[in-house]
Symmetry: C2
Subunit: 414 residues, 2 copies
């Protein structure tokens, strides 16, 4: 019977966790440990969905000149007074104002100019007579209705007055915000810098993403998944590839230039679980072992001012530990709200959902006919349970579960 | 009094729209005219949020070998039969199995091997005894509890069986989907090609985005906004910059290599509104003038098999016309659901919201203390109304509006 030459029975260091931290303990630790965001300046074109690093106050009025809001004729409103279909009046058309190309002159009573929507108003005219209310004869228009002063004229500052704070620090920029910023002459924006998240994917059994599994090797599912999740939360992924599962490689990777380190795999208390031990020895392992399912062998700590999250290698545990813990730190550093970004639905349970008091459960569910259907799963490694699921339900640690028919909050995967 | 040398009164072509199309007419036209999507192949790392172009069936089982789901000892379950704290039994540890590094031998009754989570099971062992249920003495373990056959063993195909369709055509890929695809050896994915959307931004008064407004020029707010909106909907923006507002430039731009053309500005019936006329002459102007506010001077048609949307230049009208019409075509071509992607809330109105029968209204609203507050606005050019707003309410053309207290659907800007 062959003997593994590296195997020494007395080497065995395998034990359970000395204690289990609660999910609340972990969230409190994250909120305490996550440093303040820093800012950077980006081009307007790259600013969508970024978080503003400072208030934006406009130095200009929008528009900064009076302009027509209809196609028609710029007139003295008083010249139209009393005009009706039965008492029409005439004005002489002496020129035109087009957008960006104003009428270069003055108008006097009895005169008007043709004007297009968005074109500058002549300084002396005070209303726009819509084209629909006129009959045009060569260089004369016959007016069949009156307009009040100011009618169909857009005034300076109508959209934005100079000196107004148009958008506030902390706002996640929307498409129309970019429009407003552009309109006030903002070409670069100070935004919260995207935190850099170094992935440390370990496991001697792991093949690079998309490889066909072979022998006793499996393919890394976690780095593609985590990369997409980190992008969702506003972080920037640094992932040079799977690293050898030994202490020196992992310790070296801890030194990466990043704000957050995510270690996937080797997060528990076994002999081959290097990262927790290295973190305890060279940094600080503040939390290890969490009262939750899946993801109980999760940990967190710090290394050279970086936040380090130890995520289990099992893909569902990895997803769950990321979403509960690391994601919160990524979002906070990215200047976003800390809470789950998922859309939520509240719907009744089709079947009871069982948990254990003292442990937070993350249950994958599907939605069928308006009811929440728990997905039967056998373990934390069944990643396909999260692709069959529409979302998840969280069962807090003080609950034994929910009865059939209970209204539960579903966090939707998307 | 200076006379504009280019001005000829008899040139004037200004009139109202001959008819107004309903929003429903427009949606029906879009659904009829939008061609089928095409597909392309992208790397797994670039596939997040893309729409699958075909079903994905796994050629492998995940896992493809039996593995331990706990740290402990791989045993014959029958060897643990009857073991309790008071009736402990011993097994000899003869080796170990690590992830990616299996035990290279056979075990017989009375023997076991140390095994780590994820490591291959020896072919003859049938259960994993968790380390917590053992006491370790050198190369012997004392068993204080029994395990059933199959316990803590992950079976081949437990996650995914070879031959299973894991994800279906038309699915928008989520982070965990990328994990599943990676795990079955998929490194490239056939996805729906992102439609190319050519922006034609016209207006002689327009300065490039982010320019400080000067003289009688204003800054283009629409291209930054539209670019972000198009990205939201899964399209790819082609925008070489503002083009001169003359027929030959616009006609040339119509010839762009793209699936959809968006013309912003000059969409109405005035003399300077070249795009509708060019489309009618060189392509097909199928709809022009819509019974809605804002955005009534919108149009749509085709040019060389491309869909062309004429969007008003006023920023709010542009946003509204994009979201009502062009966005639907972009999403359909991108393989996404046609309907609004916005999150929605249903809340009571704080004040009545007035509209006119026969016209669809797009009302910007804010949400205050759980009530929907319409935003007082003076015109379609007030883009800041959409940044102050939390979202919008649509008032269908058969309604005069909603009374105070009515529950309305708010489409949230984000």
């Amino acid at each position: 019977m062959p003997q593994d030459p590296t195997y020494r029975p007395t080497d065995v260091r395998m034990k359970g966790f000395a204690r289990r931290w609660t999910v609340q303990d972990c969230l409190a630790w994250i909120d305490q440990q996550t440093p303040a965001s820093v800012t950077e300046t980006v081009a307007l074109a790259d600013a969508n969905a970024r978080v503003l690093g400072s208030d934006i106050t406009s130095n200009v009025s929008v528009p900064h000149f009076a302009r027509a809001m209809m196609d028609g004729f710029a007139v003295f409103a008083s010249d139209t007074s009393g005009a009706t279909t039965y008492n029409s009046q005439s004005l002489k058309v002496i020129g035109q104002s087009l957008p960006g190309n104003p009428f270069d002159g003055e108008i006097s009573h009895g005169h008007c100019i043709r004007i297009m929507t968005g074109a500058p108003m002549p300084s002396d005219a005070d209303a726009v007579l819509p084209v629909e209310h006129t009959v045009i004869h060569d260089d004369t228009i016959v007016i069949q209705g009156e307009v009040a002063p100011g009618k169909h004229v857009g005034l300076p500052g109508e959209d934005i007055r100079s000196g107004t704070t148009v958008l506030q620090q902390g706002r996640q920029l929307r498409p129309q915000d970019l429009g407003v910023l552009s309109s006030i002459g903002v070409s670069e924006v100070k935004v919260v810098k995207r935190p850099r998240i170094r992935l440390i994917i370990t496991g001697n059994e792991l093949l690079p993403p998309g490889s066909t599994p072979n022998d006793f090797n499996i393919t890394d599912a976690n780095s593609p998944m985590l990369s997409a999740l980190i992008a969702r939360d506003g972080g920037k992924v640094i992932h040079p590839g799977i690293i050898p599962d030994n202490p020196s490689s992992i310790l070296e990777a801890f030194k990466a230039d990043a704000e957050i380190i995510l270690v996937s795999g080797g997060s528990s208390v076994g002999q081959e679980d290097h990262a927790p031990r290295l973190l305890a020895e060279h940094g600080s392992l503040d939390i290890h072992g969490v009262a939750m399912r899946p993801s109980s062998p999760s940990g967190m700590g710090t290394f050279d001012n970086k936040l380090v999250f130890l995520l289990p290698g099992n893909p569902v545990s990895c997803l769950c530990a990321y979403d509960f813990f690391a994601a919160r730190a990524v979002r906070k550093l990215a200047g976003r709200p800390a809470q789950w970004p998922h859309r939520v639905l509240t719907l009744p349970l089709a079947r009871k959902l069982v948990s254990t008091v003292g442990r937070t459960d993350y249950a994958r569910v599907s939605i069928q006919d308006g009811m929440v259907e728990p997905i039967a799963i056998s373990g934390a490694s069944v990643l396909s349970s999260t692709t069959r699921a529409d979302g998840f339900v969280i069962i807090a640690e003080d609950l034994e579960g929910f009865p059939r028919g209970a209204e539960v909050t579903v966090y939707l995967y998307e």
